[in-house]
């Protein structure tokens, strides 16, 4: 009896790829990349092409991709505007004058307008500080690959890949122990042009051993423009270095903001990261931090204020790769109308990372029946001698507290503002710097007064 040959499924039979549906935004990205970067041969070209390969293949991340489950970029991005052209100096200067986030706080500024570094508007000539524009370095043929793209995450991330593929300008910054603490270093990201554009900025900061610096990261833009901004920082914090980092995201009401901070921590270093979100139609602030040396501490904190149909995502990853480090994450959100807040916080404690202390807490105040929050804490613990905890609360304004305040003569709207400020104030005050705390509380108050209309 003849034996029939085993059934074989020829790979060739199936290798006609199914036609993949591309959204308009994905088509925009492919077109923009191929026009500008496909045949480029500057030092970053292979980095760009690698980063774009996944996006080209899989498209923008959507709700079935776990990391973007609650922030579906495929659905959120209808189109992707073209990359901004460099604005003229006068437009950038005007935009800078309009920011007003920090008032007259004493600080050095590194200014980016529409994603381009403006040395003319920056004050980078301080002792212990060196700043080199990324676009200028690339134009000069410098090899920047030893600095850009050095900090890797454990897995791919779409926002980071987008930035790597499309980064236009940025800066390479070094801060030495000669830096005089007491004066902040501000990175300002402005929108100067009146067109809807996209900006991709990549900045590397090396905080050298023993240096101590306060960094302000400010994002501002006009209402009514659907700008996209994608800003990535790669920060390496040296041994015994101390970094306080306060990000204020106050982009316009139609803006799309993706921000990523990659941090690696040296021995016995401190990093305090505070993210204050009160702008953008959609935003995602990511902080990915790795403890690479022992004895260090990171505090990641933040306040998110949302109303209308805004969507804001805070995504954290803290990787305890070595023993004896402490991390604390404390985030609060106040959400009104139909707005949606997302918190994803992951702590990884690797097998070697004994004596780890990791704590995560999120608290949300929902001001309306349609307000929404998604909380996703994740602990992945592979060591046994560790302390880790997480908690999340969600609630509304306590009516008994409201009545007590009103019974003392405080009108309802004012009482509500007082209680909301009390809720977020405790977290803001942990920043410790009185001048910064005062500015953030003032911004919160103004935001809440805007709220007053429908309270």
């Amino acid at each position: 009896m003849p034996i029939s040959p085993p059934m074989r499924r020829e790979a060739g039979v199936m290798n006609t790829k199914p036609k993949i549906f591309r959204t308009q935004a994905e088509q925009d990205l492919i077109r923009q990349f191929d026009q500008r970067f496909l045949t480029g041969n500057e030092g970053l070209s292979s980095l760009r092409r690698d980063a774009f390969a996944d996006l080209r293949e899989a498209g923008l991340p959507h709700r079935r991709v776990e990391d973007y489950r609650y922030t579906d970029l495929k659905a959120a991005f209808a189109t992707i505007p073209d990359i901004a052209a460099r604005p003229d100096l006068q437009a950038a200067r005007t935009a800078l004058a309009d920011v007003g986030v920090w008032g007259d706080l004493d600080r050095h500024q590194i200014v980016f307008a529409d994603g381009y570094y403006f040395p003319e508007l920056s004050s980078a000539d301080a002792p212990g500080l060196s700043v080199r524009g990324l676009a200028a370095a690339l134009a000069d043929g410098d090899d920047v690959t030893g600095r850009i793209g050095q900090l890797r995450m454990q897995g791919p991330d779409a926002a980071l890949d987008l930035n790597t593929a499309f980064m236009v300008d940025g800066a390479m910054v070094a801060i030495t122990a000669d830096w005089v603490a007491g004066k902040a270093l501000e990175f300002v990201f402005l929108t100067a042009g009146g067109e809807e554009t996209a900006q991709y900025v990549r900045t590397c900061i090396v905080v050298e051993d023993g240096a101590s610096v306060q960094i302000l990261e400010t994002h501002a833009g006009p209402d009514g423009l659907a700008n996209h901004s994608n800003v990535v920082f790669e920060a390496s914090v040296g041994d015994a270095a101390h970094v306080d980092w306060i990000k204020v995201q106050k982009c316009g009401d139609r803006a799309m903001h993706l921000g990523t901070t990659l941090t690696t921590m040296g021995r016995q270093s401190d990093f305090d990261h505070f993210v204050f979100t009160l702008g953008s139609k959609l935003s995602r602030s990511q902080s990915f931090l790795t403890f690479a040396q022992e004895g260090s501490t990171a505090n990641l904190r933040g306040i998110t204020l949302l109303r209308g149909k805004e969507h804001a995502d805070v995504t954290l990853l803290v990787d305890h790769a070595v023993p004896a480090c402490t991390s604390q994450e404390r985030f609060k959100a106040v959400i009104d109308d139909q707005a949606k807040g997302v918190f994803q916080g992951k702590i990884i404690v690797r097998p070697l990372a004994q004596k780890t202390d990791g704590r995560m807490m999120t608290q949300t105040l929902l001001l309306s029946d349609d307000a929404h929050v998604a909380n996703k804490p994740e602990l992945e613990i592979f060591a046994d001698d560790v302390q880790c905890a997480h908690g999340a609360t969600t609630g509304q304004i306590d009516e008994d507290l409201m009545f007590y305040l009103m019974a003392r003569g405080i009108p309802e709207g004012e009482a509500r503002i007082l209680l909301i400020l009390a809720f977020i104030g405790a977290t803001i005050e942990e920043i410790g710097d009185a001048a910064v705390v005062e500015r953030l509380e003032a911004m919160s108050r103004i935001w809440l007064l805007g709220e007053g209309a429908d309270l």
């Binding site: 009545f403 305040l405 019974a407 003392r408 009108p411 209680l419 400020l421 009390a422 809720f423």
Partner: protein, 249 residues
């Protein structure tokens, strides 16, 4: 100053107050005594405007105006003050901030200029001193970590600062030791005057040794069953509430 006429109040459909009539004139101190569940606290909450109380019948006039039509903050600005039986803790709101916000909110509603910070601080310090309230307490979040006595003293401080026309004290003596009771009572007595009326709600006669009332009412099962002078309180202490409760049934 205050006229309560045939007041009926229900909570979740259960009638708690069943026809209260009470007139309090300026300069008078009225004590309302009664057992648990007689409706004493309900009366205080209805006067200050808490939600969840349904007025099924009757009216309350305050200085001739319809009190029930006013929101809680409007009642406060008009001069109604409730000293809470259980003062609320509010984390994150410093006591000083709260006091200033309350005083200036009332002044604004009355068309008066807001008090500047230095004037305000001077005023609070002066009032706080007589109530043995420390600067440290004023800096702390409102009532957070305060002892029972501190909370009650803080209520009286607010009363002294806001200078209301009608003070309603809801079981201000509960949770107080003898020393605290004397400090609180002295604070209340200092506020007695011809322009001010007080309603002192209490279980026990002992508070009335310190704050001597002009009129004593016995509340039972949602009605005032007996009214007399201060000797009525002594009679109650001796005989208990049971006899009076029988009258109300």
């Amino acid at each position: 100053m205050l006229e309560i006429k045939n007041l009926h109040v229900a909570v979740d459909g259960n009638e708690i107050l069943r026809g209260i009539d009470l007139t309090v004139n300026a300069g008078e101190v009225h004590a309302i005594m009664g057992p648990n569940g007689s409706g004493k606290s309900t009366l205080s909450y209805v006067l200050s405007g808490k939600d969840d109380y349904e007025i099924t019948e009757g009216e309350i006039l305050f200085k001739g105006e319809d009190l029930l039509a006013m929101a809680p903050h409007e009642r406060a600005a008009a001069g109604v003050f409730l000293a809470f039986q259980y003062p609320i803790e509010i984390p994150g709101v410093a006591t000083m901030t709260f006091l200033k916000t309350a005083l200036n909110a009332q002044r604004r509603q009355r068309g008066q200029a807001e008090l500047a910070t230095p004037d305000f601080i001077r005023l609070v310090r002066e009032k706080a001193q007589t109530l043995h309230i420390s600067q440290d307490m004023l800096k702390r979040p409102l009532n957070v970590g305060f002892s029972g006595g501190e909370k009650k003293r803080n209520e009286i401080l607010q009363m002294a600062l806001l200078e209301p026309a009608l003070c309603v004290l809801d079981e201000t003596d509960s949770g107080l030791d003898i020393d605290a009771l004397r400090i609180v009572s002295d604070g209340v007595n200092a506020l007695r005057g011809p322009e001010r009326a007080m309603i002192v709600i209490t279980h026990y006669q002992r508070l009335l040794d310190h704050i001597v009332p002009d009129v004593v009412h016995v509340l039972s099962k949602g009605r005032i069953v007996k009214t007399g002078d201060k000797s009525l309180a002594l009679e109650l202490e001796a005989k208990g509430y049971a006899d009076f409760a029988a009258d109300a049934a």
